[in-house]
Symmetry: D2
């Protein structure tokens, strides 16, 4: 049984925290809007009135917050994790963040005698609720090992991304990059098919019947074939945020990513044309526009 | 039983022709270097001494030749298919060709009272030998229908790409484009992981365990993770040929394909650095070079 | 005085041939549509009824034809330059052609005991008429030297691009590439300015007042600032032809040109949106469209 | 005579402040390392011991600092310009900064009853010392008008970029973008020429003799032709900083800039290969590397 704090009880945080609790760990939760903690409280979690108190006596504090700005505030603001985590305690960062931010916060924790483990997750809230996430974990090996029971409670598999926390960040961003570009390339391929007057469904069938029989192509190939961009899983605007995290990581490491550029430009174009709140598969719509194939 | 001629008995042609013969059709084969027809002859095919005679009395002549130049010669040269196919006979083009060439040859056949059906295949020679190819067929519906028993003999599934032959070409090229760019994006993603000192195997595991559990990622993700570029399935130089067919099709239809450009530039760089005869996954090696991650 | 033949009396060919004649050389001209030769005939040129006769007794035959297809026909067709040029005579190719074509034709002439010199020109017909063209010449040094009086008659300056004919082609294409991409980058820069609600004229003034005080920026910066795309100097469709010659040359030499790709994609998009016959500065209009800044 | 404060007395700041003083204005200067102010003090400027005192009784405070981080600190830190500028006073931002930063600081000043004018300059320190800079000015018209005598003292010409401060930022970034991409395209063009074995000097002559007879091409075309990358005017690493400011501005305004991407990727590659402190024309060296043309 690990003494766990959890900051950030949104849809994803809630599902993960619930798995931690179900794994038999002692859970103390904090959320900026406290109503969201009610369900976890009913299930046996304690609710802390501040981040500082959510750190009190904890061995591990997990965070799942929206973006780098929120994470920096949670850690670095007065009364944040850096001020409040006990010496030797571990901050497990589960959200999708930038490499520069993870690097900065890992250093801040180290200076304060604490440890940062990056453990971004693969999967959406429903997958999290079922305990079937993938967890990509990196950080000092002892700390990662200490957290393993938590990762086991959360996910079906943990991928060990090495002893430096930002390694897990890099893998998570690489995976998102693969997905974003797969969607972009599908968008381009569908435009090619449409320009030759072939039904999109034909290309879809060829893809998922053969080399591309995988969730990324099944899900997004279908959305694009059916032009179902209003059925939103993840918005174009959030896609751009991810693309910028990826390009930021690439920039810091001096890695040119030409395919990411092509993808990012379609995201920008889609948002410029008013599709920011559509599903991020709308890059395919923007590609169609760029090809003179608008509806 | 269909009276079939077959021109182009290389590794792929031989496997396909063998399936046609096994399907109970009457087969007359021609190859520029006649030795390659011996096995089919032993299995019951007749061997024609010229393309013209391979067309004699045929309802369908199938071609599987290396490139657009060879195909144009087979059709348009004196004594070629245009001169020799009986009126109403069908030329089934099975190779991977450019849209402009297919368009030109379809018009030439139409003028000569013949029919062109494009039926490029999905899969390598071993898949062909097992009768498990995918066939993407397009052309005048009657003609496609007439050929269906042949497609059934050859493959496990036929995808109907519409009434215009070049539609099948577009789908085949779109599929190759998806594959080439998937490899390119993997190459970029692996460079990102390596730049952050994460073992390539971690990214591989994440990919194929989740969103990318598909042959394209299994096969090429492994080659790249293991830097096994000397184990050649398809060369970089042939990859460039494909990329140019794809970009040619896009050009003709006025479809910008930015991801194809990124991929093509890595193919060019790989060849410029002497990797033309390596496996076309060597775009990942070129990406590593561009990122200062050379071995 | 050199005995000169000239094939291809369009606007450009006519202006150049006129300078040759004015330089005191003996001129024999041929054009597919003979009417266009009348003016030159009146000025003292002889008119040949066929390409073969335009080669008769010539030391040099110059060609200025529209594209690679036309040039190959003029040289390789029966009765063309290869068949008809006297041994040792020089074919001066003045049009803008592809490297592969120039290479092929140089070999064909060499085999026939003739010499090909590539001498593409810099400037438009009015510049040609004034004898102020730049000439980029390459080929066997003796042959280039022999032609120098002709180049002096035609232009204000000859640039020596080395002993291999295709070197001049490469330089001419590189210059067109610089121009095309300068226009593309201007288009992008103007979109950035417009997105921040700054008058295009401000960017124009900054450019041509400082680092970019050159004809390319003066001319095209003005067209874009004033959105004067219907005042056509060179069409978008011809721009795409040039872009493909450039990318073809790059492909053959294994040189990735990422900026050319960006430019080509905007040309394609412009044509896809119906701007093929507008001035090729319409890439800036297409860029505006891609940025959601359409009028 | 205007009462002017000046923060940031580096090479550029010093040259500009000197012109202000020479224009007859009352000058109070501050620099973090006070030694750099000695020369201005000798010429008649007063030296302030803090930013706060450099704002005391000033009508205008000009800043010329290295980057966005420094500018934000100068304005927003305790005792910074926001705290210290008198009501109605004007902060003239002369450095090259990001749009987001200028926007944020303009809002901060407005809230404090002060005014921000963006007035980035065109030209290097020697040009500044000669009073020949270009000044691109934007902000509330009254404020810009009030500053005009200062701009006249500093530069030979002021470009009016409208009533919103960030408009001047956009124009300055657009100009840098044009330059960076011109260098990138030259790099690509030189690689093409070299791949065809033509002397770089030939391309240089063609460029600057004709369409590209402008400082940008004269200066950088020469550096690239002579591979003189160790003669550093502006480093590759600073070039990347600029590219990221440009792409950041484009991102914020939803403008895809494909040419900027191509340029940025070459900057990254150059830095990855150890050329970060070479002249930023080293993108041409990186392009040569990508083309297999390394020395």
């Amino acid at each position: 049984m690990i003494k766990v704090g959890f900051v950030g009880i949104g849809r994803m945080g809630s599902a993960i925290a619930s798995r931690v609790l179900g794994g038999g760990h002692e859970l103390l939760v904090y959320n900026r809007t406290p109503e969201k903690t009610a369900e976890l409280a009913a299930a046996g979690a304690s609710v802390a009135p501040s981040i500082a108190e959510a750190c009190s006596g904890r061995e591990v504090v997990m965070t799942m917050v929206a973006d780098d700005g929120a994470l920096r505030a949670v850690v670095l603001d007065e009364g944040g994790l850096r001020d409040s985590l006990p010496p030797g305690a571990i901050h497990v960062v589960m959200g999708t963040h930038g490499v520069a931010t993870v690097r900065e916060l890992a250093a801040a924790h180290a200076q304060a005698g604490q440890v940062l483990v990056a453990a971004p997750v693969l999967g959406r809230p429903d997958v999290a609720a079922a305990g079937k996430l993938g967890v990509v974990a990196a950080g000092p090996p002892d700390a990662v090992e200490f957290c393993r029971p938590l990762f086991d409670a959360i996910g079906r598999r943990t991928f060990d991304a090495g002893p430096v926390a930002e390694g897990a960040t890099a893998i998570k961003l690489a995976n998102n990059f693969l997905l974003g570009c797969a969607i972009e390339v599908m968008g381009e391929a569908y435009s090619l098919a449409r320009a030759y007057h072939v039904e999109p469904a034909v290309l879809y069938d060829v893809m998922v019947d053969g080399l591309f029989a995988a969730p990324a192509y099944n899900v997004y190939g279908k959305i694009i074939a059916e032009e179902d961009y209003d059925n939103v899983g993840f918005t174009t605007t959030l896609g751009l945020k991810d693309a910028n995290l990826i390009l930021g990581a690439a920039d810091l490491a001096r890695v040119p990513l030409p395919s990411a550029n092509a993808w990012k430009d379609r995201l920008l174009g889609a948002i410029a044309h008013g599709d920011g709140e559509k599903d991020w598969a709308a890059v395919a719509l923007e590609q169609a526009r760029a090809s003179g194939l608008e509806p």
